[in-house]
Symmetry: C2
DNA sequence: AGCGTTTCTGCAATCGTTTGCAGTCTATCG
DNA sequence: CGATAGACTGCAAACGATTGCAGAAACGCT
């Protein structure tokens, strides 16, 4: 069907081996035949068959990225970054969706190595450590965002302890003392680390930890709603909520909307990880930015390094951290009195403060 | 490195050909040896090498989905649907991001056919018709969401004329007479068709078309902002805006927020295509749903059909339409008086109407 | 027993590349 | 002018599977 190396060789009246060497630029060809072959190949529209090449070389020029889903904005930008970087290097990205489900992850992983991918960036569920470890002998692997504790794979992580600390401190500085935390499952790296950052900020500020204010749960909007209700139903509800479980945000917003709770007047809200619409939401939602773009770039860097190094790429470093930063918008407010005056005035004060804060951070 | 067919054959003391036939189930093997080989293969952990198989059979078990980006919620659900369907059939999805850029699209396409993908679902830019047409000789292709006019490829489209008609009529029924339209580029199928649906609804209602109310532009938030400003700066601004350009929505919201325009009191807003947060936004945003999930499913159906039919899968049908439907939430409001009373009362009327409408549709 | 079927198995070619090895050619030097 | 190194080139064997063809085994039948 398509033009093969043999066709090119015949047209140029040389052997396939010469043609191969000339076109791949593997040294030993005379300048003249080399150029001639390149020209002929172009004329004939020759495109090397990656399958055949892959069979011989064991490489596929395919790099896989395995994420949980695509609704998460962080994964979106990661996918786009990874795709762009890889394409520039002549690789195709194989984007896979694992749904944070160990079984699916496991299936996908085997399919991927079957297909002889050249590298893998994975956001692990954390339940397939042994498999990942085994596969890492055959193909360079870099973990992203989460660590799989059962492996010693190179891992690129957000600095979640710092991010959670930053966010919590921000709320404390605004005068909040009762700060609700909605955080991810405690069997994930990020879940544990964000909790620890929160706790540390509290401790530093001399605020006693109150476990009724802390809720950990699955990465789903429903979780956010459930946790938010529990928090708001407390005898002494928090004056601020830190949603450190990205997927839970929508659920929290639904509950506050249902109950006509005005943000930030009645409740300050701080979220972890950005979403495109946070900026346009009214009030615009303040966040702790986990640096998705940087994370993806670093992961690609590390992967490429390992791929080059062919096995002996152990630099000793096992874990890379990408700093988080606070982006202030309009959903957090100074907490002064035990209960703010509930009146028409609050609205104007909101717009004032929002105008002041909406400057780029 | 890994177990090959040869290893299995040796272990079973048969030839590779017998092993191959037994494991692929290509008939001609005795029941006994067949079962024996299957058992041995499992014991040895044999996994067929898709690369080698692909070289011989010309198939890769890879199906590509080429979309513009991943920020668009419709593309997200399409990707997830396609992935799920294909995986169930033993295919791997190759998800590619083309950025609605003809050059990138073209590059990606050639890489994909190089990799001998078994099928392709593509949201075409519309600028690479000839190439697509040429490739369709080698690999089954189905176009999604947009048509490439330079081809006669099988295409799965949303029923945009109907959707736009539905949305516009809804606004008209609410009493709106001046309805702004922000729509996509007119060199895309959806752009043209949505405009036509809008025009038809107007005509049916006996409302004269006013071109100052119609703005077409690129698929970017910035476009939305620009167009919204133009509309609102009109001597007689519209009482409703129909944002039929999905990507423009955020821009429109920014402008209304900037100008303290209260939706739906001061302005009714209707958007095309859903986003996960539309439902949680205050007010929840009414939409015309393009049926992304159905579109994706249909596209997969058609592709599989073509892949089975091996070339002669021309059923005559070239175009499939998936119906749109209106989902009413809280961003559209009855328009009665020329100008509604602008006072504190408007707020309470908002919460009333929103409460009434927020029932599931 | 001999023969023709039928059923199963193995040989070997093939897919399109890459690559070790050996052979050919040119040029350079003694 | 002949030897020899050096630079190219071609042959052929891989890579791991599939598959047409022919041979072998088993079986039933007369």
């Amino acid at each position: 069907m398509s033009v093969t190396l043999k066709d090119v060789a015949q047209a140029a009246r040389v052997s396939v081996s010469t043609a191969s060497r000339a076109l791949t630029g593997t040294g030993l060809t005379s300048e003249r035949t080399q150029q001639r072959l390149v020209r002929i190949a172009r004329e004939l529209g020759y495109r090397p068959n990656p399958i055949a090449r892959g069979l011989k070389t064991g490489q596929s020029r395919l790099v896989a990225l395995l994420v949980h889903n695509l609704t998460n904005a962080s994964f979106q930008v990661m996918a786009e970054v990874v795709q762009a970087r890889l394409k520039a290097l002549g690789y195709q990205m194989l984007l896979c969706i694992g749904g944070d489900d160990p079984q699916q992850e496991s299936d996908t992983l085997t399919t991927l190595v079957d297909h002889r991918i050249d590298g893998l960036i994975v956001v692990p569920t954390g339940k397939n450590g042994p498999q990942l470890k085994a596969l890492s002998k055959d193909v360079p692997i870099v973990c992203l965002v989460r660590r799989d504790d059962a492996t010693d794979l190179e891992t690129v992580l957000a600095d979640d302890p710092q991010g959670a600390y930053l966010g919590t401190r921000h709320l404390i500085e605004l005068g909040h003392k009762r700060i609700g935390l909605i955080v991810g499952r405690q069997d994930t790296t990020s879940g544990r680390e964000r909790l620890s950052g929160y706790v540390r900020a509290l401790r530093e500020a001399g605020i006693a930890r109150d476990d009724t204010l802390i809720h950990a749960g699955h990465f789903e909007p429903e979780t956010g709603a459930t946790c938010a209700r529990k928090l708001l139903d407390l005898p002494r509800p928090p004056s601020a909520i830190f949603v450190a479980n990205h997927e839970a945000t929508l659920g929290v917003l639904r509950v506050t909307a249902e109950r006509n709770i005005v943000i930030p007047d009645d409740l300050s809200l701080l979220c972890y990880e950005d979403m495109p619409w946070f900026e346009w939401h009214r009030p615009a939602i303040s966040i702790v930015d986990n640096g998705a773009r940087d994370l993806a770039n670093l992961a690609v860097d590390r992967l490429l390094h390992r791929m080059d190094a062919k096995g002996n790429g152990n630099d000793g470093v096992r874990e890379y951290r990408v700093g988080a930063k606070l982006i202030q918008r309009d959903s957090c407010r100074q907490f002064d009195a035990p209960a703010p005056a509930r009146s028409g005035k609050s609205k104007s004060s909101l717009s004032k403060s929002s105008a002041a804060k909406s400057a780029k951070v």
